[in-house]
Amino acid sequence: MTAYIARRLFATLPVMAVVALFVFFLLRLAPGDPAAIIAGDDATSEAIAQIRTRLGLDRPMVEQFGLYLLHLFQGDMGVSIFSNLPVTRLIAQRLEPTLALTLSTLFVAVALAIPAGVLAAWKAHKLVDRLVMGFAVLGFAVPVFVLAYVLIYFFAVQWQMLPVQGYQPIGEGFWPFVESLILPSVALGVTYMALIARITRASMLEVLAQDYIRTANAKGLATDRVLLLHALKNAAVPIVTVIGIGIALLISGVVITETVFNIPGLGRLTVDAVLKRDYPVVQGLILVFAAVKVLVNLIIDISYAFLDPRIRY
């Protein structure tokens, strides 16, 4: 078991290496002089030269990469060009809203979608199933920002039940915090829920057709036990996989959702940084997001071992 975990851990290293490489080359991939790009369209040649030395762009490539990695391991992701603050500090400042948003969306989505999928599979082809799947198909198609605006239009503008935008940190009161998160979570989570519900249903259907479910029924076991223990545990692996894959959806969606709802989180930071070509910040953010995704996948991989004993032994 520990061997399995260790192996999975090691497998993440090459992936992160590729990401680091990509991030490093991001700036240098652009046609033209990286220093000039950073300096902007109407910078003087002295300003460009200054930037070049400051960022060490005049040293050999390998040396630059080495330095870059070294700094990374020391927790130094560089300094923002525009705000002159360390990238790590910027990220730390914006972390809470994004974390709150993603976690709440994750939990709500999983808590609603899996039971929906199980229900749809159990009552396959009946009305309940068609309703759930209909919702799932629609939910998967509607883009996050469209849904966001629709929700804002009805719940915030017309009916005035929830705030139009903004984020209340939890330190300033629990209910305002929750209220500010409801619409963004729903907008962000619908696609995710649709995906999870569909896979849950599909996986459950496949499992319910298996011989061992027939055996369980032949033993006269209660329906909820058959569904939840015998079936769901077997169906879990694809479901958990998709939850992991969906994290990528969540992260992309976070960027857009924070823009629509004006939430001062990492997503907004990314957009601002990219549009301003603040490369150190962009690089740092991509690394962070990639690391999160890799970490999530690692957790998912490890959970397989708990769910399916055939993997363990």
């Binding site: 298996q210 033993k219 015998h230 545990k233």
Partner: protein
Amino acid sequence: MTAAAPPILQVRDLHTQFDTLDGVVRAVDGVSFDLAAGETLGIVGESGCGKSVTALSILRLIPPRAGRIASGSIRFEGRELTTLGEAEMKSLRGHRISMIFQEPMTSLNPVLTIGTQIAENVVRHLHVPWRAALERAREMLDLVRISDSARRLGEYPHQLSGGMRQRVMIAMALSCDPQVLIADEPTTALDVTIQAQILDLMLELKEKTGTAIVLITHDLGVVAETTERVVVMYAGRKAEEASVEALFELPLHPYTRGLMRAIPRVDTEADAVGTRTRLQEIPGLVPVLTRPIVGCAFAARCGFATERCHIEAPPFVEALPGHAVACWEVERVRASAP
């Protein structure tokens, strides 16, 4: 065809149908039989003759979307099962009537331990605490001769061989002392030596526990070794029914005769003497079950068939004491060489 004591299971004129893209398939087309307490009944026939469906019908395990029991009666200990509520049916399954299936490799849940799968049955029906149920599970593993039973409780199905998994299935099925055990081709998926072991085990258990067994198989050899009475099915109907000795000594139905002739004989004496004969197959195909069958189901393939056989379905009648057939031409069949 009455048994000495009142039969524990009585099936009367069972009709089970399936809905398919090509129409309604009459998988079981008017089958009746009795099972006495402690008796071993064999149901023989080729694939598709309806024997498995009969078994599934008894426990009402036919998925509602796929098919249904169209008509007929199934009485267990005097209770009518076809009209029983689902909750009551559930308490019967695994408790008073148990079933084991053909594929031991896939019939056990891969993510649950052996101990859990047996113990949960005990808890469900006998309402004992989990500890006691596990202990009972261990006893059952001992009963089916699985070594090191305490350790096995914590193991998973994929850690056991096919033969062992089938033993576990048997242990599971017998865990609540059922009156009836329905075994649907329990040894077909196993290799021959294991087959013999499992069959011996089943016989031994039967002696110990007094459970009535319905053994479904396509293998006449298994029938000969293990059962007391036999029902031969063809195309959803009964062709012949007799005690095992009577059936093998004097098969009356042309189909049964055909089956017997098709058994390969490893007969060294005949080899030496030079009387080896060809394997004789039964010509033709099993009839399509989407149309109602006119006349005798076997008529198209039968060497003894007459005009009447094609038009009128023969009734199932007792030709000899304790030996019944559905055939118009029984006399001719008896008279001809086996």
